[in-house]
């Protein structure tokens, strides 16, 4: 039984929850991120997310340490997305790493295409697309008034004159507006091969069919333009 009175996933079969819990524990990183928690709260004190959300890295360490399967599943679908992955919590005197526990849990959530993961990542689809198609995560043209209202009125001026602002950056590779910096087609093709060969493309298909569709079509078109056979990846890597 979960520690939360308002537990949302009580109807999910225990066996399913246990299977995902086991998958987290079987991760090769597990033994170096969880040593047992004595509830000192240093991780919570250092955590920026804890200041703004009902979020606690300590809960992750405790719940995982206690093997509380029901609460684990609640965290896996909810709080796991409130972490900013800054790893301030690594100042734990027991060397626990709640941030890394959360990294593993997020990967399990994504690999299983949990609907909560789909929803959490929906707003970041362009960031996922950028990083998977170019290797650069943040593009200057993400600075739009509707996405960055916290920038105040200046963001409108910045977004409308991005090319001018970018030319003020000395390196030519950064005179870009759609990407953080200029990325060669060879890099893009290599990246695509890495995602494809490591199974990451399939993972994305589970989580966002739209990104998968675009990514596959754009990159396969690029491969075709360069005369590469998708199955003959060694040619791409050697050129």
């Amino acid at each position: 039984m979960s520690i939360y009175k308002d537990a949302k996933y009580q109807d999910v079969p225990y066996e399913k929850k246990q299977k995902l819990f086991q998958e987290v524990k079987e991760d090769m990183r597990w033994e170096s991120v969880m040593y047992g928690c004595y509830e000192c709260g240093i991780c919570v004190a250092a955590c920026p997310s804890a200041r703004f959300y009902d979020f606690s890295p300590r809960v992750f360490a405790q719940v995982m340490g206690r093997e509380d399967i029901d609460t684990f599943y609640e965290l896996l679908n909810d709080s796991v997305w409130d972490c900013s992955q800054c790893f301030s919590c690594t100042r734990c005197p027991r060397q626990n790493n709640p941030g890394a526990i959360i990294t593993i849990m997020r990967e399990v959530a994504v690999n299983h295409g949990l609907s909560s993961a789909k929803k959490a990542l929906q707003a970041y689809s362009r960031i996922i697309y950028k990083i998977m198609s170019t290797g650069t995560q943040v593009a200057p043209d993400m600075l739009q008034p509707d996405f960055f209202p916290d920038w105040g009125p200046d963001v409108k001026d910045v977004s409308e004159n991005l090319d001018v602002w970018r030319r003020a950056v000395p390196p030519e590779t950064m005179h870009t507006t759609e990407l953080a910096w200029d990325v060669s087609e060879k890099t893009r093709l290599e990246l695509y091969m890495i995602w494809k060969l490591t199974g990451n493309l399939e993972m994305i298909e589970n989580i966002d069919e739209g990104i998968f569709m675009i990514l596959e079509e754009v990159m396969e078109e690029l491969l075709e333009e360069h005369g590469y056979d998708i199955d003959d990846f060694e040619n791409v890597l050697e050129d």
């Binding site: 929906q122 707003a123 970041y124 689809s125 362009r126 960031i127 697309y129 043209d141 993400m142 600075l143 739009q144 008034p145 509707d146 996405f147 960055f148 759609e178 739209g210 990104i211 569709m213 675009i214 079509e217 754009v218």
Partner: protein, 153 residues
């Protein structure tokens, strides 16, 4: 023009609710496709639209264009198969047209369908479209349409 929670839905068009697109049959057998008012609201300020090249064949449910806003990216899916015979260069140059005029200036591609009679069975209009989009908006938790660039049809 019908209205649903500030979302405009022209009566003369056919819609594919799940793909969130409209289609317009031209007199010459070709069909135009574009995003609905609901789709442009979901995307927010659109900054790029890249229609597929003329001459490409597309299958049902596949992408005819990539649309990007600040942090969101997604495909525009076609409800029927065919060959792209024209693409709207204007939306490629100024993607905010899709926000401003999703139904008139904002057509994205023109397709010569290969088997429309069979493929077009999921298309709806009138009351069916309204009730379909009402359910769609409830599922996606969209309270109303937003016209960030105004609405010109």
């Amino acid at each position: 023009m019908s209205e649903l929670k500030n979302c405009m839905l022209p009566d003369e068009l056919l819609y594919h609710v799940d793909f969130n697109v409209w289609i317009h049959k031209n007199g010459d057998g070709t069909i135009d496709i574009g995003m609905t008012d609901i789709a442009q609201s979901l995307a927010g300020n659109i900054i790029h639209c890249r229609p597929k090249k003329v001459g490409r064949s597309v299958k049902t449910g596949k992408s005819i264009a990539t649309v990007e806003s600040g942090k969101w990216v997604g495909p525009v899916k076609t409800p029927f198969a065919g060959e792209i015979v024209a693409a709207n260069n204007d939306v490629e140059i100024d993607a905010t047209i899709l926000n401003r005029s999703p139904y008139k200036q904002g057509w994205i591609v023109r397709i010569q369908p290969s088997n429309f009679d069979e493929d077009g069975s999921d298309l709806v209009s009138g009351k069916d479209a309204i009730s379909g989009f009402e359910t769609y908006m409830a599922e996606k938790e969209i309270s109303e349409c937003v016209h960030c660039e105004g609405f010109e049809g």
